[in-house]
Amino acid sequence: MEPLIRVRGLSKRFGPGCDRCLDSTGPEHDTNVCPHCDSVTACSDLSFDLFPDEALGIVGESGSGKSTLVRLLHFEWEASGGSMELHRGGAAALWPEIFADQDQFSANLLTMSQFQKRQIRNALMGIVYQNPHLGLRMQVSSGGNIAERLLGAGWRNIAGMRERAAELLERTEIPVRRMDEPPCNFSGGMQQRVQIAKALSNKPLILLLDEVTTGLDLSVQARVLDLIRNLRREFKLSMLVVSHDLGVVNLLCQRTMVLKSGRVVEEGLTDQILQDPQHRYTQLLVASQL
C-alpha cells in the first residue's frame, strides 16, 4: 500500500543558525539549543510515511519537537527544510496542477503558495490542539465555530452547515441544544469534543492530534480517547497522535515514532517500542511510565 503522505528531511530552526548547529544539538547533547549561536533546532531531518487509515504515534518529552512537527505539517510555520508530498490517489482530481505527469507523489507542499497551502489544508486536514483556545473561538457559538470551518472548506448553504454542525456535535456527544452556546461555557472535556467536531467537519483525510487529552481529568481523558478510537474506526482517516503519554499511543496507534531533542531516536511497532525499546532515551521513557 502507498502512503497518503510522505515526509522527508523535515527541519525547523529558530534563529540565524551556524554550521555547527546540527553537530552540537540532538539526543547525544541532550539539547536543541546550539551553544555557538543560540539558535534552536526544534526538529531536524524527520522522515516518515503516513498511510491511509493509520494512526501513527509521536512520543517524546516536552521540547522534543512534537508540536513543531504538527505546526509544520499544518502549514502554520515555515519549515527550514524538507518536504511533504501527497499521494496522487484522490488528491490528483482536486489539484491536478501539483502532480507532474506520471509521478505518484505531488510536488513539495511545504514550498507552495500560501493560497495553495490553505486550499490543501482546508480540504485535507483537521487539527485538535492541547489548548482549546488555539482551536476554537471561545466567544463564538459552537455551531458557529464549525460553520466557520465549513466556510473555509467552501460550503455556502447556511441550513446545510447548521445540519452538519448538529450532526457532528451529536457524534461527539455534545447535546445539540447547546450548539448555540460558546465553548467558554463548556468544561475542558467538552471543549476538546467541540474541537474534534470542528476538525472532522470538512471530512479530512488527515487528523492531527496534539496532546488532546493532556491536562484533562482521568475520567474525561478516557471519554475523549474512546471517542477518538470510535471515530477512527468509523471515518477511516489517518491520524498523527502526538502525546507524551505512552498509554495514549498504546491505545490508539500501531506504529510509534520517538522524538528527543528534535530528532527521531527510534520508530517501530508500538508494542515493540513499549516492550523492547532500543534507544537509551526510549528505555528511560518506558521505565519512567511503568
Binding site: D226, R233, L251, R255, L269, Q275, D276, Q283
Partner: protein, 225 residues
C-alpha cells in the same frame, strides 16, 4: 510453514549501565502447515521471548524466521518492515498471552467481536453470533457479556482472551501459557477449541506449563535449555 533458524535475542539495557541480557540463543525449529509445536524448558530460558520474536513484539538480534505467508509468500519475520508485520498480524497471525491486554471500557462481547468484524468481513449479526457461541462454549456467564473484562476474575479474563484470539480464525496462532490460570474443566474446553482450529488447518506454536498437557496437545516439542 515456519522455519526458525538460529534465532537469538539479547537485551541491551542502556539505563542499567549497558547491562546485556541473553534471553535466547541458537533456537532452530520448523513447523509444517497445520502442525502444533510445543516449546518447553525451565523458567527463564526464553520460551516467551521466542514467541514474542515471532510476533515481532521483540526485535530479534540474530537469525531468521521464515514464514510462508498467505498474503505475501515467504517472508523473514525477523527483518520484515513494520508495516508488513502489521498487515500480517491483521490478516493471519494471532497471539495469545497469559494475560488479557484489556482494552479499557469495551464489553466482553465487543472484545471478542472486534477482530471478527475488522478481519472477516462478516455482518455485525454474524460476528455477534460467533462471539456469543465462543463465550458460551468457554462458560462465561451470560450476565458478563456486556460487562468490562477489567473487573473479571483471572480465569474469566483469560477465557475472554482466548475467545478473542481464536474468534477470527488466524492462520498461525502463537500461544503463551493460554491455560495457566484455568481450572481443569476450562482447560478441557480450551483444548477442544484448539483441536477444532487445527481441524480447520491453523498452525500453532504454544507454551504450556503442564508437561502432560504439552505432550497431549502438540505433535512435536522443542526444548529450550
Amino acid at each position: 510453514m515456519i522455519t526458525v533458524d538460529n534465532l537469538s535475542k539479547n537485551f541491551l539495557l542502556h539505563i542499567l549501565g549497558e547491562k546485556r541480557i541473553e534471553a535466547c540463543r541458537a533456537v532452530s525449529f520448523r513447523v509444517p502447515p497445520g502442525g502444533f509445536l510445543g516449546l518447553s524448558g525451565p523458567s527463564g530460558t526464553g520460551k516467551s521471548t521466542v514467541l514474542k520474536c515471532l510476533y515481532r513484539t521483540y526485535l530479534p538480534t540474530g537469525g531468521a524466521i521464515r514464514y510462508d505467508s498467505a498474503a505475501w509468500g515467504p517472508v523473514d519475520l525477523a527483518t520484515l518492515p513494520d508495516r508488513a508485520v502489521i498487515d500480517l498480524r491483521h490478516r493471519e497471525m494471532g497471539y495469545v498471552s497469559q494475560f488479557l491486554k484489556v482494552i479499557p471500557r469495551v464489553s466482553a462481547l465487543d472484545v471478542v467481536m472486534e477482530p471478527i468484524l475488522t478481519r472477516n468481513g462478516v455482518s455485525r449479526e454474524a460476528a455477534r453470533q460467533r462471539a456469543t457461541r465462543l463465550l458460551e462454549q468457554l462458560r462465561i456467564p451470560r450476565h458478563l457479556f456486556d460487562a468490562y473484562p477489567a473487573t473479571f476474575s483471572g480465569g474469566e479474563q483469560q477465557r475472554v482472551n482466548i475467545a478473542r484470539a481464536v474468534s477470527w480464525k488466524p492462520r498461525l496462532l502463537l500461544l503463551d501459557e493460554p491455560t495457566a490460570s484455568l481450572d481443569r474443566g476450562s482447560v478441557e474446553i480450551v483444548l477442544d477449541i484448539l483441536k477444532e482450529m487445527r481441524g480447520e488447518g491453523t498452525t500453532m506454536i504454544g507454551i504450556f506449563h503442564d508437561t502432560a498437557l504439552l505432550e497431549s496437545v502438540t505433535d512435536s516439542v522443542y526444548s529450550i535449555c
